[in-house]
Symmetry: D2
Subunit: 333 residues, 4 copies
């Protein structure tokens, strides 16, 4: 009976905690990362950099942490460094951290497929698990590509997408996807009771990343991607229309087979909603056959938390692999 | 100078006001209708029926009105009757009001194209203005069909939709579109911070209405329609992907030409948002060419207030035509 | 019958429109003012200044207007100028506009009671109507003082507040009350699903204004004022606890008497809510006796739209008086 | 190093889990309870009753559970039973569960102070810890009394409230406080962008509970309590004005001393906000001196999650004591 009373901290005493650093800790994704690291059973937050908030402090995992300048972060002390620095500013810090001996997960777009510097594994974990496990640096996918590609992979892998088809992706994201810097169009009185698309006409910068992965997989489909801004804080939901080569009898089978045993992928006949996935490192997926059309077409709906599975959570999932830990460790499923 | 001080009521003294009745006045669309009628410069609210609220009262146009039972409504006294009764219950009251001598605008689906009883003009005003003007009964379009069809008509009319194409319509609606009856899934704590599709797989009942109109216009395109529930009170935004027969140079030209001079249609290069259209009887439309795809494709975005242009406002627009009044009268543009 | 068809614009042809200017037109109150002026039956928007948006344009009253620099505004051409400039920056422009021959309504705090420069009538219209009518410059009240003072005046005027009492004012405001400048704490993801007080301990700058008016009326009550930030765009609701000298039998009578015939004050036994007042130039008030306490105490609840009755609407109400127009002209009741 | 990899489930194998039942599991508080029980390291969810959803299932703690009828719940198998049944219906089930041998935490008002049947300890845990530890049945406090009383206790215990004073409590709650049954006034389109008080004039049923505790402590202050409905899902914030017998130099000292070492009470100079407390079993409190008034007055602000510290969380806290477990077990701090 005595063991009933022992708090989790008791066991923690015996656990060696790995030093983990976070660069760019003051944005939404950076803070989410710090929180996950601070609560991770096998990690401790060694440093958190935030150049515009140096000296300020914040609570992560119930403990006060003081932000340092990136220049002052002791990169070499960390077993692994996450970079949540802005696109363009991240690549050099990834190199610096790696040169200092740390493994690195880069949440920026700098090293992702479609970028000029793409040369490290693309950490869409369920797709590239073995590559990630052997890597030293991983490019963490963007939020929209995560939900879109995880939704499409089973169809692509099975050659089910109709040749030359156009795949239509309509996605809607909560405002944390637009960053933590104050901008008028993100103010409460501007966003509440509103809804609007942006980057229409296939101009969103995440398209290159998605197309590169499709091309790599030999899928020649065109992609039309239209993001929308939702009056919610968190979450992305994508509604995807895919012309298929031939009718599929058991419409969920491709996902059920492809993702069998995956701890963070939930395939279900129920329609996903944001509230099913927020604050969790999961993607929820359903698929259905479009009735009453001549071209056999599948409608896939997938949802994630843009800050968790779409950013910090997937980054920790990749970090777990890089560090030889259990992939699910410290992640809210 | 004296005329400066004369309040609008002054002129109203000289204006003959037509008696207008509303059946089914307690739902969101019914109340919006009562308000528009009560503020209409040439109309007065002769009766408002609400069977579950008989004897209760509500303010419309700043004046207290008492709800009557439909049975007690003096249909014959009205120049025109709006029916905002539920689908299935409306058709018989439309007949009764017409038999009593009133013109009728029916907001239910009972008489719309695609229904078995469709035999009256379909009041998509900008499309069927002349038919409406000569009618005695008009079937007012549903909210999703209004925004979708007004967005598509210029392409269809010009034969620009690629033959055999699949048109993908993703639409998102505020919760007033789901009605005024208390349901758990519409409660604040269930809807806030959420977003989800419903009726996926082309199962929404509005599809019949949209397809019937497309067919009537000789458009053989397939339609895939996926509605979503937004955490906002009002508004519908539709993002529509249309494969076109050939590239269009001036992408807005079809809409600008088709809707030239229309008082309630705003074509613009700006991307529409819900807040541009709520509480207004307008549809805002933009279109853009999808970049980086082989099949020439246009993305059309259109937004309306589901209760105004998508219901009560368009109903008043039709009523104005039926009554020989100026089409814009009493409508917030 | 012909007159049925004449649109409101018909009558407008005969109406001389007064030139009205707005300084500081880009904030929430400034834009609301421009809209009210542009739709006012006896006014036209002569200029709208917005120093950080010079050359940009916006639609007011359905017409495009181009923002000018304050320096370029032709103050002398205007019959009346509204200043919605920031506190501190406004007073000098009020003087300049007045020197140029215009009447002025100043929406800033610069000339309000409690400020060092207070020397013009305080435009709490229902309280100071005659003073305003004869003035050339009026200091328009702040949003919190408007709702608080209108709620308290009938008790104060009747000497009903207990001598030496402490009046407790808890008020909650939508985020437009915090201004249009982007600030992190006003972003959607920070405000949604939150609620918090601010300036606790009687430190809000509006207190001086409220106390000055109380003192002027000979009311010696102490005031404790705690504002809160609501996750809504518009509206202020104040819940006010007032110890009274003796029990009041007909608790609504003081308000009903005091405000008899007032077009913009709604006294009712129904509890006011924000949605009763938004987009309207009204204050809704109820009062009730606190049960089960030894000190006779009245709870007064009042609600306004902070941008209309709490700012731009009341400013137009005052302008109407200054210009010898009907006080209600151009105002949404 | 091996121990690094052992998942938490590993240790759970050695832990005896106590059987816990939940009556009335389908409301917001009931579901929150089931979730806390299912995730509790020393408990397992033995049954969850929900009379209107018998046979339906829901996921708690990641596992599917099927609702039973209360009549079919095996009360005698449970070490402890929570009753989240409606007021009036709960007391008889509390007796039945107790008669069957279970300890009971009753979340209804049936046995609370101020009710006719009050005869069991009132589980305001920080106030009555020793009584609860020795009890078999505990009446769990209401949400408003929890936040109000925890905010006031330090002042009352120190005799700091001015004799004969009136304490003014303005509290605002998220809509989950109003229950899970569909009601029109709780629908999204009715609540969003709104704010309103209710039960004004000291008529809320929670007042009896608060007054009874004050009386028991010898505090003769009058209480004026005005609740408000917020457009948020969760959380209560109370702003409380307390006339004090004499000025307090270190205004936070009473709370810091009174609650020293309390794991679930956070006293801070920072102003509490709902987002600091949601999904956590804590109350956050600050206090400040009202400036510029003759009667020395303290403003206390306190916030809780109405479903956690205000209901299910505090219920588990009490259950931990009743069962001899660590008080903090299974609770999110």
């Amino acid at each position: 009976m005595a063991i009933d009373r022992a708090p989790p901290q008791f066991y923690a005493l015996f656990v060696h905690k790995l030093a983990i650093g976070v660069l760019g800790a003051s944005g939404y994704a950076g803070r989410e990362l710090c929180e996950l690291v601070a609560r991770h059973p096998s990690a401790r937050l060694a440093f958190a950099s935030a150049n515009e908030r140096v000296g300020a402090s914040a609570r992560f995992g119930g403990t006060e942490h003081t932000f340092v300048a990136a220049e002052d972060a002791r990169l070499g002390d960390a077993a692994l460094v996450f970079s949540a620095l802005p696109h363009g500013a991240s690549a050099q810090w990834v190199s610096a951290a790696h040169a200092a001996g740390a493994k690195v997960v880069d949440l920026s777009a700098d090293l992702r497929p479609g970028s000029s510097a793409a040369c490290v594994p693309y950490g869409l974990t369920e797709h590239a698990r073995e590559l990630v496990r052997d890597a030293e640096i991983v490019a963490n996918p963007g939020c929209y590509p995560t939900v879109t590609l995880l939704a499409l992979l089973p169809l692509i892998a099975r050659g089910l997408v109709a040749p030359g088809a156009t795949i239509t992706v309509n996605a809607a994201s909560g405002v944390t996807g637009a960053g933590f810097s104050p901008r008028r169009e993100l103010m409460f009185a501007e966003v509440a009771e509103d809804f609007r698309p942006y980057a229409i006409g296939n101009t969103h910068r995440h398209l290159a990343e998605m197309r590169a992965v499709l091309a790599e997989l030999g899928c020649d489909a065109d992609l039309i991607f239209t993001p929308h801004l939702l009056p919610v804080a968190r979450g992305i939901l994508a509604t995807i229309t895919v012309p298929v080569a031939e009718p599929i009898e058991d419409v969920l089978a491709p996902w059920r087979e492809h993702y069998a045993g995956e701890p963070f992928i939930e395939v279900s006949a129920e329609i996903p909603a944001l509230r099913d996935v927020v604050h969790r490192n999961v993607v929820r997926i359903t698929a259905t056959v479009a009735a009453g059309v001549r071209t056999p077409t599948i409608i896939v709906v997938a949802a994630i938390d843009n800050l968790v599975k779409g950013a910090a959570g997937q980054a920790v999932q990749n970090a777990n692999l890089l560090l030889g830990l259990d992939e699910t460790m410290g992640l809210p499923a």
